[in-house]
Amino acid sequence: MGLLIRLCGISAILFVMGILLFIVREAAPVVVSGRVSLVQFLTRPEWFPTSEVHRRYGALAMIAGTFSVTGLAMLMAVPFGLGAALYLSEFCPPRPKEVLKIVMELLAAIPSVVWGFIGLTVLSRIIVTLTGAPVGVNMLNGALVLALMSVPIIVSIAEDALKAVPDSYREAALALGATRWQVTWRVLLPAARHGLLAAVLLGVGRGVGETMAVLMTTGHAVQMPRSVLDSVRTLTANIAAELGEAPAGSDHYRVLFLTGVLLMVITLAINVTADLIVRGVKRS
């Protein structure tokens, strides 16, 4: 039994190594053989994977798509997420707090394909009515959906960070005659800043990695985004849209795996940074 437990214990390492090795192995031949240059992949916006004469594998438009959608989403999600976390942790009476936390948890559980469906049917119509855009599936729609999806995560982690601030800090400030708002602004936010930063980073990580919702709501045009009403495509959505048509072992298939490697690197960097920050907070 001990041996089995040990084996399962290290299985996480094996699986991570497995995933990394595998997607790198599937992606490598196309780079090693020189048929696709990494520099071009990262810096050119032309993506014509199935063209006969003009084949180009440049992912820059998709990279820009991913970061613009995620960035716009965070502009909306971070203030609301931190505001809600502050309300829950500092201002809310205990009973409504329990209820709100459960509501947040249920919001976090809504599947991404349902979010995508909401964006496609409800939000797109609202966007067309309000902005007069020709189509409602665009960067703004994707960002709204992503913001709604990442708020519960930001709230729950930010609330943990605020809870981790010792009560003695609050009591000391209150004893000096500070109001709750002053306590929040002058004491809690500086004391919990690392945890709050980690909450934001994990929200970003979720945004970058999200697939179905952005696939259904961003409109799918491979172009450098110029306005929030432009249709864009993200790295994740691109894989989801094209993997089914790319024959196994073809250049196209391997470039999609290369996109996967890129995604893995980005999300890994974000998550590990967030974890280091959280851990640093726990130690101090």
């Binding site: 996480a12 595998f22 394909v113």
Partner: protein, 303 residues
């Protein structure tokens, strides 16, 4: 505080204090508004989905197969497919996840192996679902020759749920006080006997909660199964209980919703909404069950 003039009531609020109180009420109001602003529109949207879905929501919608190129009929094959995928993926992920958590919490010393495993769990939890799909396609479908099948899709889902099960189980195990274990060791029990007789019975509620939460996550995921085993359509008679073999592809609710919403023209309008509502209901009910279980575990007497 109150300048030169002596106030008749020494503790009467000064102008500055009143202003600060006003600011406090303002802050409170703004934060409350932010919280409510997130929840209310969503409640509205969910209500809208139910209203649009209403014409199709019926028992026969659940147990009938899709008809006329998925433009009419029900969702039975997708419902059964989702159940198959969830059951198999958790049958794989739950034992491995729980044992891995037992290793991390009960066996491992705080050395570099422990730290690397921790890092691996975090990394695994952060892998985007579409990268899981790439891995599942390359590893299970092609390399392991499982083909596009329920098995490939379930294993991909299992890998996705594993790190979360490990994390939640660890938390449950860590909540059992160390003195319980020490008491058991002192009467001569081995490590494993202690775990089985003392640690697991005292943490089983928390462990189950974590696993149940992953049921809803696995049921809702689309990207990992899209390229490993879920298909647009599979002819299955409505009401059959085990229509799929493990090496076959299957339909799944999440995939079905994606297909109806984006690929099938002229669907009866209420059908995609009804599919979304059923998927949401499944996920939220399972989550509510997990939350209820957790509340019951928490209200038990504390040690």
């Amino acid at each position: 505080m109150s300048g030169g003039t002596a106030s008749p009531q020494p503790f009467a609020p000064t102008a500055g204090l009143l202003a600060r109180r006003r600011r406090e009420r303002l802050a409170r109001g703004v934060f409350l508004a932010m919280t409510v602003l997130m929840i209310l529109p969503l409640a509205g949207i969910l209500g809208y989905l139910v209203v649009r879905a209403w014409p199709s929501l019926s028992w026969s919608f659940l147990v009938e197969a899709p008809a006329r190129g998925m433009r009419e009929g029900g969702i039975w094959p997708a419902l059964v497919g989702t159940i198959d995928l969830v059951v198999i993926s958790l049958a794989v992920a739950a034992p491995i996840g729980v044992l891995a958590a037992i290793y991390l919490n009960e066996y491992a010393r705080d050395n570099w192996v422990h730290r690397v495993v921790n890092l691996a769990v975090i990394t695994l939890a952060g892998v985007p679902s579409i990268v899981h799909a790439l891995f599942g396609l390359g590893a299970f479908v092609y390399a392991a020759r499982l083909g596009y099948s329920i098995l490939s899709a379930s294993l991909t889902l299992a890998l996705m749920t594993l790190p979360v099960i490990i994390a939640s189980t660890r938390e449950a195990l860590a909540s059992v006080p160390r003195s319980f274990r020490e008491a058991c060791w002192n009467v001569g029990a081995t490590r494993w006997q202690t775990i089985r007789a003392v640690v697991l019975p005292n943490s089983i509620g928390g462990i189950l909660t974590g696993i149940i939460l992953q049921v809803s996550r696995a049921a809702g995921e689309t990207a990992p199964i899209m390229f490993t085993g879920a298909v647009f359509y599979k002819a299955v008679r409505g009401g059959t209980l085990l229509p799929y073999r493990l090496d076959e592809q299957c339909m799944a609710l999440s995939m079905h919703l994606y297909t109806l919403a984006t690929q099938v023209p002229n669907v009866r309008p209420s059908i995609p909404y009804a599919t979304a509502v059923v998927l949401l209901a499944v996920v939220l009910l399972v989550n509510a069950a997990a939350i209820t279980l957790r509340l019951r575990v928490r209200t038990r007497p504390k040690w």
